[in-house]
Amino acid sequence: MMTEISLYDAHDPWVTINAMHRQQGDELLALTGFRDQKIKAHWLLADGSIAREQVRCSSDRFMTLTTILPEVAWDEREIYDLFGYTPIAHPDLRPLLRTQRWPDDFYPLRAAMPDRPLWRDGEPDQAMKVVQGEGIVIMKVGPTHAGIIESGHFVFSVMGENILCLDAHLFQKHRGIEALLQGKSFPAIQPMIARLCGSDSVSHQYNLLQSIEQVTDRHVSEVVQYRRILVAESERILSHLNDLAQIPAGVGFAVAHQKGLALKELWQRGMAVIFGHRFLFDAMYGEVFTQEDKLHFLSLITSFEALWAKWVKLTEKNVAFHDRMRGVGKVTRQDAKQLGAVGVARRATGEKSDMRKYMPLYQVVDFTVATALGGDVEARFQVRLLEVESSLSILRQTLARMGDPSKEEPFVVPSDLTGETVTFSESPHGLNVHVIQWLDGKIDRYHIRSGSYRNWPVLAKAVEGNVVADFPLINKSFELCYSCTDR
């Protein structure tokens, strides 16, 4: 039998059509596989509509897009690990989540896979990307860390104090979340989606609700829409407060760190009173917002703003702090675009990329997209500061316009949902996309591509050439979630 040698084919229709979208400046929402040997790419066009391209991978192979679209490198590796569809001529097809313990023919998302395969013996060690040479030290950090963070294994190639290359091995938990969702009904997956991750929970909940509403063609009342804005912006503030408080910790600015966390605590206690949960889990699903809640919210904003102004002054006054952030962890505008950076990381390079502008929900409020130019830690800090303030203004606008709650019939989700939806929202960490396929009221395929997932490769790029001691600072300026990348 002859070994088949596959070469990259730039004229493959799958490649050309996606290259065309990129050239038009469309935004890639998701690229994922399906059990029926299909790969689908969803593009957000400039007019806000979504284009769907698909390819059928005959004999489990398809032409790689990584060569023209470096941002899908991880997505294609994930498809390879979970479905076994091979991207032809992918430049770096090391396992992303597969470990040596998985049996050879085990592809978790393929049809008819055992729940508990026969795990093989061996260390769960993955191939590393390292730089070799004289005086270069390979430094491994994690997966268990000294702080209260999740598990991620970082392999640094270090020369002296300088980082030459960072290879991040995430996906340590193997929750099997996408497989777990399959075959479940809407009420069963609701709490699971809300608990996908602690920092972007509301955005995930919103995507699920959107999917239901698209399939059933339901239109929610204005009050509920306003309430959704309140929840979403509350989460943005909560998450940004956490991220803003973490950045000073990276340079030993303990006062700003602790006072920032105190602000976050104040906000969380308010959230527990108004929406019933400190992390806003399940908060988006609710539809009741009473006059009393409104008063609570207004007084929370007032007491928050007084302390917030003090905190901003504390950090702005400290010249050494700003000096420490400037020029560190720089991402150029071009790299950000090529690697598919989203959210704060993208806006910190000066690009007005905010998905809220495409979300129908936000058409009723005025806000400006916050940007900064440096692309460094300081720029990301600055963007977050501005966004907290713009979110506060959105909250005030919304509360002012919100009428009295109307009595609504409780919505019953039909048991025969069928259809495919692509829903997206701007989470605190960037564009968050869910691809959901419903079949007879059950999930047939659920794919999650969160903001953190897209920004991890950008982080690896940002730390290159910086000193090792600055990694915590750069990492905290992205503050990416490990949980929503776990598969």
Binding site: A146, G252, F253, Q258, R324
Partner: protein
């Protein structure tokens, strides 16, 4: 004579005994400024007791160096404490030589670095490299600052410099420069902000702590206690040199203890409002201190 001996021994034991308390004061000050209640000022004692009670295990790849290093650290610190004149000193009594102290500090640094390298862990090596790099700057800093003392008294003995020093300083400016320079040197030597952050859990940014990551049990109790004593010793040297003395031996000892408390709180305040500087910016810090020391000498000489 006997009174000097009694005060000296008394001061030695009290200062050692209170070392964890002074570190506790720094921590409490920081906690209060951050708006936290913070642990008790006696936390240092509980921590030492905890380490002491725990089982001591050795890393697989470690050699005898790993065991010796903490013992060297604690011995060096106790020896330095012994050299510090705790009362008002009479010339010729208990001759502690400051050049000796510098080299004892260097010895301690050398062993700490060796211990960091010994286990061949990544962070140990990183920490060792960093503390030795800083050490290069530290020695000229100490010499530059003490150059003035030597220049004025012609002596390198603690005991003979301390009582004479203030009266002989002809220029207040020179005193300020040297004292300020030494204050900055202390922060570097005891591994506090803006150089090193002793409270961090981030291995990648650690300096001194990185060499200690593999330690546990009693060996760690030793090195932890040594770093506490180092804080007391460096602050005490500063006060003995640049602070006043009183006419009575006992009152001088009490004054020194009070000064140690005050300076611990000051370190806490400084730590709260400074940021850890970039590692490659430390040479500027070093050269600023050396410049201050030399300037003090120049002002005095002309």
């Amino acid at each position: 004579m006997t009174q000097t001996m009694i005060v000296q021994s008394f001061g030695f034991f009290i200062a050692i005994g209170l070392s964890p308390f002074f570190v506790g004061l720094i921590q409490t000050t920081k906690a209060r400024i951050q708006g936290r209640h913070g642990p008790s000022v006696w936390q240092g004692y509980y921590v030492l007791l905890k380490y002491w009670k725990k089982e001591t295990t050795l890393p697989e790849n470690s050699s005898l160096i790993f065991v010796i290093a903490p013992i060297v650290s604690i011995s060096v610190m106790l020896l330095i404490m012994l050299f510090i004149p705790w009362g008002k000193q009479l010339p010729g009594v208990l001759a502690g030589d400051f050049i000796m102290v510098f080299f004892l500090l260097a010895l301690e640094r050398f062993w700490t670095a060796l211990a960091g390298l010994d286990t061949s862990g990544t962070f140990g090596g990183l920490g060792a490299s960093r503390i030795l790099t800083i050490g290069i700057g530290l020695e000229p800093m100490l010499f530059a600052v003490f150059g003035l003392c030597f220049f004025l008294t012609g002596n390198t003995h603690f005991a003979q410099i301390s009582p004479l020093w203030l009266r002989q300083a002809p220029h207040l400016l020179a005193w300020f420069l040297a004292a300020g320079g030494f204050a900055l040197t202390i922060l570097l030597e005891i591994g506090r902000l803006p150089i090193d952050n002793p409270d961090t859990h981030l291995e990648l940014t650690m300096m001194h702590e990185a060499t200690q990551l593999e330690y546990n049990g009693r060996l760690f109790a030793f090195s932890h206690f040594a770093s506490m004593c180092k804080v007391t010793a460096m602050l005490a040297i500063g006060w003995v040199w640049f602070g006043p003395t009183l006419s009575s031996q006992w009152w001088t000892l009490l004054l020194h203890l009070f000064e140690l408390g005050v300076s611990s709180i000051l370190v806490g305040v400084v730590e709260s409002f400074t940021i850890k500087m970039r590692f490659f910016r430390i040479p500027y810090y070093v050269s600023a201190v050396i410049g201050m020391g030399l300037l003090a000498v120049v002002i005095t000489a002309f």
